[in-house]
Amino acid sequence: MLDFLATIGRVIIAFLVTTGRLSLFTAQAVGHCVRPPFFFRLILRQMVEIGYYSLPVVGLTTIFSGMVLALQSYTGFARFSAEGAVATVVVLSMTRELGPVLAGLMVAGRIGAAMAAEIGTMRVTEQIDALTTLSTNPMKYLVAPRLIAGLTMLPILVLVGDIIGIFGGYLISVYKLGFNAATYITKTFEYLETIDVVSGLVKAAVFGFLVTLMGCYHGYHSKGGAQGVGAATTNAVVSASILILVFNYFITELFFSR
């Protein structure tokens, strides 16, 4: 019985320690994001890495999601003769949900993992210590540029992804399901409101922050050589993915539950 309580106690303490450490890390990192000096060269490099090089992955996932969405809702809605709603379903699902979540998860796999591996390697090979001895704050030099780039590039990436996804839905609807092109486009914009797009972009910014934060945090605290870096990479991707889905719910509730 006592053993059991001790185990529970240990788990709770470990959880609180991790939460505290993560909060401290986040606060420090955000502090460095808003206080000069800024490393513009590094921010730019990270922006290209996150924004530009993720385009193919995000483009592919969103175009196929848009296509399948059109196909599914057409066949599903045919059961109660509501095929006309396909355009609206595609555009709302894409902008509100699928665009940000898919892009977030894809970037978590691509960027979160790469950041954890890079920073983790720098940690275990003492490169982070070397930064400090060369009068450079590693939080400012390594973490802040990545967070800034994640926060700003994901919304852009998602906007592009939204458009590609909606285009995918259009392709299937017009060329496969026989919708009239002009009507489909009109329908697409008929019920679309600003808040649908804006909520998606807010999600994207939050997801971008979470992915880069997890990548940096797990990399920064990795230890124990190659194995530790491997674990950090896995943890970064898993924790970022879970956080994305959790925050996705709460942001949706914030915007749309009334």
Binding site: E118, Q127, A130, T132, T133, L134, T136
Partner: protein, 257 residues
């Protein structure tokens, strides 16, 4: 009273959880002096250097740099003190995302806000000091051999002309000839800068060559120290065992099965 020693560690304690690594370590390095700390692997030599640099925080004790207590300093002051230091890391710790010249110039560009073109000239000059041509500057660290990486790391450590330089196992993993080249470079660079040096090694040939004074660390304490030439007559069983590399003696290797 003469002037304060460059570095003074007094009764420093550092443990990781239950594992005690430094257990009341005391050591001083005078101005312009080259002190070498010898000791087996895992005895806390690197931890000692990291405590002085503020990369690790000891639980107890005092560390003074130029007579100024550094433990408990606020980060801005600490950064000011760190500018006096150069450090050669055990594994070189070169930044592999940057070309060699930018590695060498890093402290000048980021730490001292020097212009890139000027810093680059300075880096080429420092590379020449460690016997590397300007063409090496364009390579990436991964393209260099271990010995060349050590030289680049040395150039980086001296680039900002520090008052105090730390060398963490500068010759470990190098062939004897390359090790001697590095030893000569260390002596030359330290002398040219008039810097104080604190090195750690378990390579006795290297220790004898670069040290004015040698100290031996064992179980988190300094168990012997004295001028380099007295080491063979130390009369200390730990030192004797270590310099002759004998398995039998007071030093027990923790070999767990």
């Amino acid at each position: 009273m003469t002037e304060a020693p460059k570095i003074e560690l007094r009764d420093v304690h550092k443990a990781f959880g239950p594992k005690v690594v430094l257990d009341g370590l005391s050591l001083t390095v005078g101005k312009g002096e080259s002190v070498v700390v010898i000791g087996g692997s895992g005895t806390g030599k690197s931890v000692m250097l990291k405590c002085v640099l503020g990369l690790l925080v000891p639980e107890k004790g005092s560390i003074k740099v130029d007579g100024q207590e550094v433990l408990g300093m606020d980060p801005a002051e600490r950064e000011e003190v760190l500018r006096k230091f150069g450090m050669l890391f055990q594994g070189s710790a070169l930044f592999d995302s940057l070309p060699v010249w930018e590695n060498v110039a890093f402290g000048l560009i980021q730490g001292r806000r020097m212009e890139r073109t000027k810093a680059r000239d300075k880096a080429i000059e420092k590379l020449a000091q460690v016997g590397l041509g300007p063409e090496v500057g364009e390579l990436s660290p991964a393209e260099l051999s271990g010995g060349m990486q050590k030289r680049v790391a040395l150039a980086r450590a001296i680039a900002a002309e520090p008052e105090i330089i730390f060398f963490d196992e500068p010759t470990t993993g190098l062939d004897p000839i390359m090790a001697d080249v590095i030893n000569n470079l260390i002596i030359k660079c330290v002398r040219e800068l008039g810097a104080s040096a604190l090195s750690i090694t378990h390579d006795m040939a290297s220790a004898r060559k670069i040290a004015d004074r040698i100290a031996m660390i064992y179980k988190g304490k300094i168990v012997w120290q004295g001028p380099t030439k007295t080491i063979d007559q130390s009369g200390n069983p730990y030192v004797d065992q270590f310099i002759h590399g004998r398995a039998e003696g007071p030093i027990k290797m923790e070999v767990k099965v």
